[in-house]
Amino acid sequence: MTSREQDEVLWRYLGGQPATAGLSRELATNPAMSRRLAELALIECAIRDDAVKADAQRTLRRRILVPMISSGVALLALLLAGGGWFLLSRPEVGTPIAERGNPNAKQMISAVREGKMVEVKEKPFRVAFAREETNLEFSPGSEMKLEETKAGGKRVRLNKGRIDADVAPQEMALEVITPHLEAKVLGTQFNVDAEEGGSRLFVDEGLVEVLSKSLTKPRNLSQESGWWQMASGRGVSVAGARRVSSPPEIDGVEDQLWESQPVHPNAFLGENKVNEIDSEEDHSSSWRAVWDDEALYVLIEVVDNADGRGNDKPWSNDSAEIFIDADHGRTQKLDGVNDYLLFFDPSRTDIFPGIGSVEVTAGMDHVTRRTSQGFRTEVKIPWSDLGVRPREGFEIGFNVASNDTDETEGKRRSQLTWTPKVSGDFGRPDRMGVLILSGAGPP
């Protein structure tokens, strides 16, 4: 049993799990095991100490970016310099190895070492690397492949699913490639979701370089100008909007055209101060988008079980928001030319422009109406108003958010957002997600 496995057994015991005969015997005969149990129990109690709590919460508040500290850099460099680790049958330095937890881990790791695409079925599949503190956890439903880059680094291809990664400092960037984005990682904690029609990346700690990747015209990895950086607590989402031959009718109804489009959940919390979400029925939201030569069309579905209205500020009512950086200039403020922040409040009939947004034009059409589960917004935004010429592969900065309150003239209880952490950054197009105009897609 490794020390990590031993700790896991002891933590489970301290958490109330019945002790096995083996644990009891081990504690009775192995003083080191008993001592470790004592040390863990002391931590379990000390962590609840008020002084520890106050100090840790101060640290949390102060931290913006935590530099990765690890002594593994030199070792890793040595390991990677050896090269060819994927091909060796014996687990040598840097070789991918499967961690326990998945009954098919052995077969799967063999396939991974052979560079095959692997489908993760019912249980998470955890890949570690021999003598390196890098852990990649692939969720059930993932399709993944590990490759070695020409420079000797690691590359993960995630066709779909999710990866939670804890990456030790790397000499060569670890690359993660989904159908929609590419990321370069030198050592950090992050996760990536790849879903139909879109991908999300969130950086827990450290720094990740990201490139949105056109669905129709993938960029060359060496094209550095497209990369931008995501630091701790930030991330980016990328999605495609399919081209349609006939536009949806703007009536607030989810017609057949919408039913066939990929749904993008607003999976991140946007509000920094208050986030009270009791359940998915209390507040959850998602959106879909399509385009044609005339306009961009967006349907936002908000689930909300209590009508909150009456405040003259729509962000304090039940409402939805759309952010657009039409020329994808990724500036730090709305540029006053073609950047929009639009609010859709089911208790109002107009579109409410946010601070710094270009004014709403007559060409914009929308219907926002209450539904049995919450409310729905359907909106048409003409390209002529955005001042750009649409074409396949064209990217705009984009984000969708929803706000929930359960009172009349109350305060916002929670905010959800498609691309992470925009609250307080409403005027920053450089922190929006990316919407890529794609082809017609499957019927």
Binding site: A19, A38, E44, L60, P124, D164
Partner: protein, 176 residues
């Protein structure tokens, strides 16, 4: 010794061993809140005996009282045998011999230092779980990760803290 100074020396000793006693109780009853409750009973019994007789080894004595109280509580509550064997309990009892006494809060100070070395994500998860008292599933939802990842991260973070504190305290002892 006057009654007042007797009382204050008892309080000082109890204060220096309180966290150690609670941790020791936790290893028997496997429930933090129950350990807190039993610590109250234990403190009362030890205080009573402190007034009646001379106790030479406060730590060993109070641990023994704690052990008996914990076993009594388990038998009363669950009507079932204790979680581990008597031999295992003896071994854990011995393991606490040089771990439970912390007169200068050095373990807390070391833990504060070690907390600062934790990755942001781990610290955030500990914050939500321990200090904001959120459930694992709620944290998973909030951070958009699986509940089992939350649980594993919490344990991993605490293990790292235990290693770090242990190492810091060893260094301190060497310095002394």
């Amino acid at each position: 010794m006057s009654e007042k100074s007797l009382e204050s020396s008892f309080e000082k000793l109890l204060s220096e061993h309180r966290r150690g006693l609670k941790a020791y109780l936790l290893t028997i009853v496997q429930d933090y809140h129950l350990a807190e409750d039993i610590l109250q009973d234990t403190s009362a019994i030890v205080a009573e005996r402190w007034e009646l007789e001379e106790i030479h080894d406060f730590w060993a004595f109070s641990r023994e009282v704690a052990r008996r109280q914990a076993l009594l509580a388990i038998r009363n509550m669950r009507h079932q045998p204790v979680p581990v064997s008597e031999d295992a309990l003896d071994s854990v009892f011995a393991a606490f011999e040089d771990l439970g006494h912390d007169p200068s809060d050095s373990r807390i100070v070391a833990l504060q230092g070690c907390m600062k070395k934790l990755p942001q994500r781990w610290l955030k998860i500990l914050d939500l779980r321990y200090w904001k008292e959120e459930k694992v599933n709620s944290i998973a939802l909030k951070l958009n990760i699986h509940a089992n990842v939350v649980s594993v991260t919490i344990n991993r973070a605490k293990s790292k803290l235990a290693d770090c504190v242990s190492s810091a305290l060893t260094v301190d002892r060497v310095k002394l």
